[in-house]
Symmetry: C2
Subunit: 242 residues, 2 copies
């Protein structure tokens, strides 16, 4: 059977998943396109496949066929893909491992996705998203991760609580400060650390900087006020991972 | 006098500058918002200011006042700014300085803008854009540079011609290869170099890799195929600038 009606209740539910509140309510989200679906399948996250009529069923998972028109309605892309999947959100809430990244206030979905991709590249174990950070399950974030969000433990937690926990558990906590920081090239390598990145416009909140063991910066030309936050975070992770 | 008609010939010309072919034809482009306008003014690039009716004239430059409706029509932003400027394109065509970046096929405006910002941060002297690279004067590119495009010599040239010129002039030419490259951490610092970055999906073209003195890569976790090209380029420039 192929679902062709935009009024179908399943279709309506899937369209609603474009909104964060409905993703939060159902604990599910949608990913679009073959690459993301394969990564999520390998990680055991896929609940149901949404296939364009005529496409092959790639894995032994519940699926529905839909018309092109329905696919377009559910998709957030300009060009709808031929495969999408409904996935279960992670229920992880623990900080695991020795290398932690805390993101406090990142707003741009592309930046969050890029940072997640770099975090996996540089062996981060846990990424903590504070409540004022863009939703991990925003379709633009997931796309920018290139599926790498499946390869790292990502949790939501209050920033201050997380920092207190990390300090109690002997993590070195690094903030960032573009004006008055400690050159990351001079930092000794540490087995257990947490790097904190703040909002695109404002950086790490002053109250949080005061809680950090060190505030880092990247040495650069004076003409430049700051780097893109995804770039800055990636360079810091690259250096801290030496 | 305040221009209020969307049919005004000046307004029509400015709207056309949203298209590359018209920017190429007139050798001008538009920048939006105070920060970009200030940076362009300091660099002597501003030809005419476009101000929302009632705004102060910030510099001694020709200006026009327009209505909110006209501002919205000329702007490419969701929320139109209160100040824009028509600028003259750079007429530079020479490779200057010892540190050169060649971008061959970058397609995403945000990536190009981010790379330009990082290039200034890490003291690149000349950025060469090959013909298959997104237009520097695309509004999204200019915005992502945060105005930093005014602080570096950016030229357009055929990639192969440029590489031959650089080799003849004793620049070390570095390509990139994510599968089979030379770890950038192991590279000796060089006074005269050119780094080449390729397209988001395909990387540096094989024919170009073969022309390079070395193809570099960034050591990372095997789960990750590649980094975002803006991140990868920034890390390489950061390392090569040691």
């Amino acid at each position: 059977m192929v679902i062709t009606s935009l009024e179908n209740s399943k279709v309506k539910d899937y369209v609603k998943l474009q909104q964060r509140k409905y993703r939060d309510f159902t604990n599910t989200y949608i990913i679009e396109g073959e690459h993301l679906v394969i990564e999520a399948y390998k990680a055991g996250l896929v609940k149901e496949l949404i296939l364009l009529d005529g496409e092959k069923v790639p894995f032994d998972i519940d699926y529905i066929y839909v018309s092109n028109e329905v696919m377009k309605k559910i998709s957030t892309l300009d060009t709808a893909p031929t495969i999408m999947a409904v996935c279960n959100k992670s229920n992880s809430s623990d900080i695991v491992g020795d290398k932690v990244l805390l993101l406090d206030g990142i707003q741009d979905p592309g930046n969050l996705g890029t940072i997640i991709r770099s975090s996996v590249a540089f062996n981060i174990d846990t990424i903590i998203l504070s409540e004022n950070t863009v939703d991990l399950y925003n379709p633009k974030v997931l796309r920018a991760t290139q599926g790498m969000y499946c390869h790292v433990n990502i949790i939501s937690r209050d920033a201050i609580d997380a920092i207190n926990y990390l300090k109690d558990n002997n993590y070195i906590v690094y903030g960032t400060n573009v004006n008055n920081g400690y050159d990351v090239r001079e930092v000794d390598s540490n087995d257990k650390f947490c790097l904190i990145m703040g909002n695109e416009g404002n950086g790490v909140r002053e109250g949080i900087q005061n809680m950090c063991d060190k505030n880092l910066y990247i040495k650069m030309n004076n003409a430049v006020e700051s780097l893109n936050v995804g770039v800055a975070c990636s360079i810091l992770l690259y250096e801290l991972g030496r």
